[in-house]
Structure formats: C-alpha cells, structure tokens
C-alpha cells in the first residue's frame, strides 16, 4: 500500500517540467506579441502620415497642372490640346453652373465626376455644396473634359505613374458660391460671374473691372482610400506695361529730343488722348495726346515739347494741330516727368517676348503681312505678337488685335489698324512707305529708343530720341487713346493664386 502510494505520487509530479516550460513560453510570447503590436501601430501611424502627405501633394499637382495649362504659352495649354474649344475662347466668360474637368484616370478605371449618382467614378459632390443655392445641385451631366498631361503623349507612353489626382474642375464663381457680397448690396448674386480688379485688389460683378476669377478644385484619391480636396481661386495677372500717359508716347532726354513729323497734308490725321471705350464711345479720364517720356530736369523739357509741336503743321488754330486733343489744350504735347531706364524697358521687352503668342519671322513685307493674316486676330482672339527686329506691314490691309512689340524699325501703313497696344522698344523708330488707307489705331502707341543703331543697349539712365516720321501725304485717321483696348491687350504673365484652401473631408 505504501509503495503504491509513492508510485502514484511520483506519477502525479511527472509533468511539472512541462508546466513550467509552457508557462515560460507563454510569458515570452506575451512580450513578443506586445512588441509586434507596438511596432505595427507605429508603422500604421507612419503609413497614415505618409499617405496623408502624399495625397495632399497629388491634389496640389492637379491644381498646378490646370493653373499652368490655362496659360497660352504652356506647351500643353488647353488652347492647343484636344479637345479643341475645351474652354470658351479668350474673352468669353465661363458661365455659373458650367464645369470643365481635367480627368486623370489610371489604366482600367473610369473617372466621371459629373455622374454624381455613381460612387465608383469619383463623383464631384463638392459642386453641389457650392452651387446648390444657385440652382445647380450637380455639375452638368456630362461636362466638357480634357485628359491630364499624364494621359497625353508623350507622358502616357512612359512607364511612370503620374500623381494620383482624379479630376480637376475649372469653373466660374459667384457671390453666392463664395458667400461673399462684393458690391455691398446685401444680396448674394447667384448668376453673375465674379471678376477681379487687379489695381484695387478686389472682386467685382462687372466684367469691366478686370479678368474673370476662375476656381480650380482638385480631388486626389489613393488606392488605400486616402482622399483630399483642395481649391484655388486664380486670376490672370498681366505683365506690367509702362504707364500710357498719352495716346502716343515718345522717349527722349536732354540733347536727344524726340523727333515727330506728322502727315502735314492730311487734315484728318489726329492723335487724341481723350478716353474711348471699346465701342468708340467717350469714356474715362483723358490723357495727353503726345507724352514725352524721359528724364528732363527742371524746365529743360521745353525744347523737346516745342520740337514735337513743330513737327505738326501750323497754324495752331486749325487742323491738324487742333486734332491733337487730350487733357491739355491742343496741340496737347506734354512732359509729365515719368520715365524708365533703357535696361528696365529692355527687361520688359524680354518678358513680353517670353510670353508672346506669336513671333513674326524676319523677311519682306509680303512674308510678314501673310504671317500676320495667318494669326486670325479678332476681338475674341487678342494676341501678343512680337517682331524681334524690323517689321514692315506695308499693304497688310487689316486690323490687328492685342499687343504688338517691335524691337527694330516699324514701317506702318494707314491701311492697317490696331486695337490694343503697340510698343516700339529698341530702335524706337516708326515710319511709312505706303500712303493710302483710312484705318486707325485704338489704344496706345509707345515708342522708346533703348538701343543704339547696332543694337547695343544704351547706358542707364537716359533713353534717347524716339523717331516717328510720316510722309506729308500719308492718309489714315491716326491714334485714339482707349484704356479699354489697352486693358484687353495686356499679355498674361501668369495665373495668380488669389486663395488656397483644403476642403475638409467627412
């Protein structure tokens, strides 16, 4: 009996080693699991942060693509990429309620933001949030769309995944969509697009105040579901042109007075500084007829003024001298003590050359005028045209719209008209060879000699004499100052960001 008990006891104790080892193993496992869990949480955190930063920059790249492609000089500008006419022609405002999409699907997926009923094609629900109170609870189905640069040649053939934004919307904004009362009439207008007055830095309901404000909205979504919606308001920002203080501005400095010779036999020729709008009606404050631009200390500008007046046939009581009207008495030739240095004006010319829509080839009048015809300029297609050298537009017989920059000699013709700005910066010379025609220039003409005859820039600070010499028998009606055409002709330097914000996602 005793022996049996011992045996039984021993048998019962036999598993203690197993128990202890299981216990120790359990302990080690708990510690190991805790470590794995903690490092897992840490990498999940890092992952979240990474995708949040990644999706933010993806959305921002969508905004930047649309902002860049609005510029005409961008190699992928909407103006020159398919579909043609994706955005309304320059000068035509976008309507409230319309939406234009740049879509950026990855291979095998559909992006249709205008289809708000389908959750898999990245619907644009934000549009309704902004415009429901204006009567548009969703974007037009379907809206115009263009492919992103990542879905266009040459980037689409590279095996590089682009940023993962899905769509970018371009649209007009109104007082109501921005919750803003720009004209203080206590009414939020829901149908009038907003414009931006760059000189006063403020919004306006009037298209006369400045260019239209565009809203750009971009949605980015990562495969893991991270999503961000960011938004810009942008407005075209013009290149800063010199001030147009006269219908015709001529450069000069003491000892190098400007040269002006009017068509003496043409009683109808006029240079008028009175303001006109784009329809030829009187508007706005007048400027000088002819303004002299340069650094004349004290009263030394007298000889320059007299020299220019002397270029117009006397007597002063009858045409053509009485045709030179403006803010002062006729003939209104004034020196207003405003000037820039040759290097400043040359730098401006370079900026305009960089943002030019077209560059006129060197060559004969026939070559240059046929190139001008090919541009099809019109009030709704105003262009920045540059001639980097001489320009001869004899016998063109047409009217140009926009900004014309000539760095060499400009040979004009009274059967050519221009609506906008003509800058002759460089040699600063205008003349004519053909005398027949009856067109006029509306806007402003600015002539400045910044280079010597061999094309080397003059030393700062003095501009030398501009020279405008017309034949006595030249026809044509002359130059009319128009701030409206000047404003329309200003080349766009960039689309400036007026505001940025991230739209909180639910």
């Amino acid at each position: 009996m005793w022996a049996r008990n011992t045996i039984r006891k021993r048998r019962r104790e036999a598993g203690i080693a197993l128990l202890i080892s299981i216990f120790v193993l359990l302990l080690i496992s708990v510690v190991a699991i805790a470590l794995i869990v903690s490092s897992g949480t840490e990498s999940a955190l890092a992952g979240n942060y990474r995708s949040s930063a990644g999706v933010y920059y993806a959305a921002l790249s969508g905004l930047e693509e649309a902002r860049g492609r609005l510029l005409a000089r961008n190699p992928n500008a909407f103006k020159i990429t398919n579909p043609t006419g994706f955005l309304p022609a320059p000068g035509t405002p976008l309507n409230i309620g319309d939406a234009y999409y740049v879509i950026n699907p990855v291979p095998g997926e559909t992006v249709a933001p205008w289809d708000v009923g389908t959750s898999t094609t990245y619907p644009d629900l934000e549009f309704g949030v902004e415009f429901a109170s204006s009567g548009y609870s969703q974007p037009p189905n379907s809206s115009p769309s263009a492919n992103s640069v990542w879905n266009r040649s040459p980037l689409n053939s590279l095996n590089v995944p682009g940023p993962l934004y899905k769509w970018v919307r371009i649209n007009a904004v109104s007082e109501k969509s921005l919750n803003l009362d720009v004209d203080h009439d206590n009414l939020a207008n829901s149908t009038t697009p907003l414009y931006y007055d760059g000189t006063l830095s403020r919004f306006s309901n009037s298209s006369l105040a400045g260019p239209q404000v565009l809203e750009i909205t971009s949605l980015a979504t990562l495969p893991n579901g991270s999503q961000k919606l960011v938004q810009y308001l942008v407005v075209p920002f013009p290149v800063a042109l010199p001030p147009f203080l006269g219908a015709l501005t001529l450069s000069g400095s003491p000892g190098a007075d400007p040269v002006f010779h009017a068509p003496a036999n043409n009683n109808g020729y006029a240079v008028k500084g009175d303001g006109w709008d784009c329809n030829g009606n009187p508007a706005g404050p007048p400027v000088s007829a002819i303004n002299i631009y340069g650094d004349y200390p004290g009263s030394s500008s007298g000889s320059a003024v007299n020299g220019v007046v002397g270029g117009i046939r006397p007597p002063s009581t009858s045409p053509p001298r009485t045709n030179y009207t403006g803010q002062g008495g006729a003939p209104d030739v004034e020196y207003l003590n405003a000037f820039q240095t040759p290097s400043q004006l040359n730098a401006l010319a370079q900026t305009i050359i960089q943002s030019a829509d077209a560059v006129v080839p060197a060559g004969s009048a026939a070559t240059q005028t046929s190139f001008m015809n090919s541009l099809n300029m019109s009030p709704s297609n105003m262009l920045t045209v540059v001639s980097n050298g001489d320009l001869d537009l004899s016998h063109w017989g047409n009217t140009g719209y926009g900004l014309l920059l000539v760095t060499g000699n400009f040979t004009m013709d009274p059967d050519n008209g221009w609506r906008g700005v003509i800058l002759v910066i460089g040699q600063g010379k205008i003349n004519n060879t053909d005398n027949n025609g009856s067109r006029e220039i509306d806007g402003a003409v600015f002539v400045a000699k910044t280079n010597d005859t061999s094309g080397v820039a003059l030393p700062d600070p003095n501009l030398e004499e501009a020279s405008v010499i017309f034949d006595d028998i030249m026809e044509g009606t002359g130059i009319r100052y128009s701030s409206c055409w000047i404003q329309k002709a200003q080349p766009i330097d960039s689309y400036r960001v007026l505001s940025f914000h991230e739209i909180p996602q639910p």
Partner: protein, 268 residues
C-alpha cells in the same frame, strides 16, 4: 530480498532534497516573476511613448494643415466685414489692432518660438462660418501644447480672444525645458538639443522681395519684409517625452517630430 531492496530505493526524498528542490523552484519562479514585472513595466512605458508619439503626430498634422490654409480667404476677399476674410495669414502681438506689424524673431510674440496665431476660415462652405484665430501655444508651467480657436472680431485682440479658448493638445512637450533638464536629455539623446538650447516649436521663413525677385529667407534676414504677413513656411518641431521614465534605466524617453507647413494664400 530483491523486492525489499527495490522498495527501499523507492522510499522517497529526504527533507534536504525537498528543501533544495523547493528552493530552486522559488528562485526560478522569483526570477520569472521579476522578469514579468519588468517587462510589464516596459510595455507600459512603451505604450505611453506610443501614445505621446500618436498625440504629437496628430497635432503636427493639424498644425501643418492649419498653416497650409493660413490667410484664407485672403484680404482681397474683403467685403467690409472683418470676420469674412483674413487680414493677414498670421496674427501678431503687440499692436495687431492699430495695426503696426512687428518683426518676426525680434519683437513679435506671437508669432514666436512657442506661440503662433493662424488667421483662417477652416470651413468656408458653411455660410455661418467665420474667420478664426487658431492659436497654438506652449504652456511653460505644464509643458503642454495648447490649441484654441476664437472667431475673429472687429477690433478684437487675437491673444486676448484666444486666451480662454486654449485646451491641451499635446502633453509633455519638452522643447522649452530648463537648462538642467536639457543637459539630462542631451546625455541620452545627443543632437536633439543643439548647443544645449531650447528647440523652437515654430520657426519661420519670410518672402523677401527685391525688385521683381522674391526669395524665401529666414525671417530675421528679410529686413523690411520681416513682418508676420510675409511668413511663407512654418517648420514645426515637436519633442515629446513619455509621462514615465524608462522602467529599467530610469531615464526619460523622448521622440522628435518635424514637419513643415507652407502658406499658399497671398498676403494681400
């Protein structure tokens, strides 16, 4: 006979044997439990560190998002109602109400190393929303980074309006510790506190414009352009300590996070 002898050999353990076995068992058990206790403590400090890290990360995310949005809607949106647009991306003290800007890094407080007030409307689509002053401030007594948002009011002083709205956001932020404490941290984390100085939570770069060229430089180098409205980037550095020191070594545990927010909105 044989059977008897066999039985005797099986007769069991002596007292000494039992005591020895028990002793060994106790030692092994004691060691195991000590190990368990210390690893539990370790797990606790690790999870505390992780919580601090997570708090700091969420806060950093929030700060960067607010800085990105700073100055929205910009002053050109102004319709005469101060609460409808931001007059500057970053509000300042003193003389905000006069208004006379101060110089960042010289006499502004905020924006300063441990205090910043962002002026923005985070939720413009809500018609009743207003521009807010969103303030981040390190409370020096509790080492807590506070966040508070107050609606922008006409003639209001941002520092006063936000003062009673501040709520704790991240605890144990040690950027501005005492020199003695920094020396202690430096011994364990060399390089975290360069030259043994406090580490600014917020450091700023400004737009410096000369002619038509705009450069981004450290604010005190921007000369006349050194004003809060010209702040471009805000680099955020958060150094956070876990509430309890390391269980085994007794030394403090720190994590450092760095992020950058960039103002995109124009300042005028």
């Amino acid at each position: 006979m044989n059977r008897r002898q066999g039985r005797r050999q099986q007769a069991g353990f002596t007292l000494i044997e039992l005591l020895t076995a028990l002793g060994i068992f106790l030692i092994v058990c004691g060691a195991a439990f000590t190990l368990l206790a210390s690893s539990q403590q370790r797990a606790r400090t690790e999870s505390q560190l992780l919580t601090s890290f997570q708090e700091a990360r969420l806060a950093l995310d929030q700060i960067v998002r607010d800085v990105n949005d700073a100055g929205y809607p910009p002053p050109s949106y102004s319709d005469g109602v101060p609460s409808h647009s931001a007059s500057t991306p970053f509000a300042w003290y003193p003389n905000y109400t006069i208004p006379t800007p101060c110089a960042v890094g010289i006499n502004c407080d905020p924006p300063s190393d441990f205090d910043i007030i962002i002026e923005t409307n985070p939720n413009r689509q809500d018609p009743s929303s207003k521009v807010q002053w969103i303030r981040y401030k390190l409370d020096p007594t509790t080492s807590t980074l506070m966040r508070g948002a107050a609606d922008k009011t006409s003639g209001g002083e941002p520092t006063v309006e936000t003062a009673d709205k501040l709520a704790p956001l991240v605890q144990n932020v040690v950027n501005n510790s005492s020199p003695a404490q920094i020396a202690q941290y430096q011994a364990i984390y060399p390089g975290m506190f360069p030259s043994g100085n406090p580490v600014p939570i917020f450091s700023y770069t400004c737009d410096k414009t000369s002619g038509s060229v705009t450069q981004i430089v450290s604010c005190p180098l921007a000369g006349a352009d050194n004003i809060p409205a010209n702040i471009r980037d805000v680099t955020v550095t958060l150094i956070v300590a876990s509430p309890l020191p390391d269980a085994t070594t007794g030394q403090p545990r720190l994590v450092q996070l760095v992020g950058r927010g960039r103002r995109i909105n124009p300042n005028q």
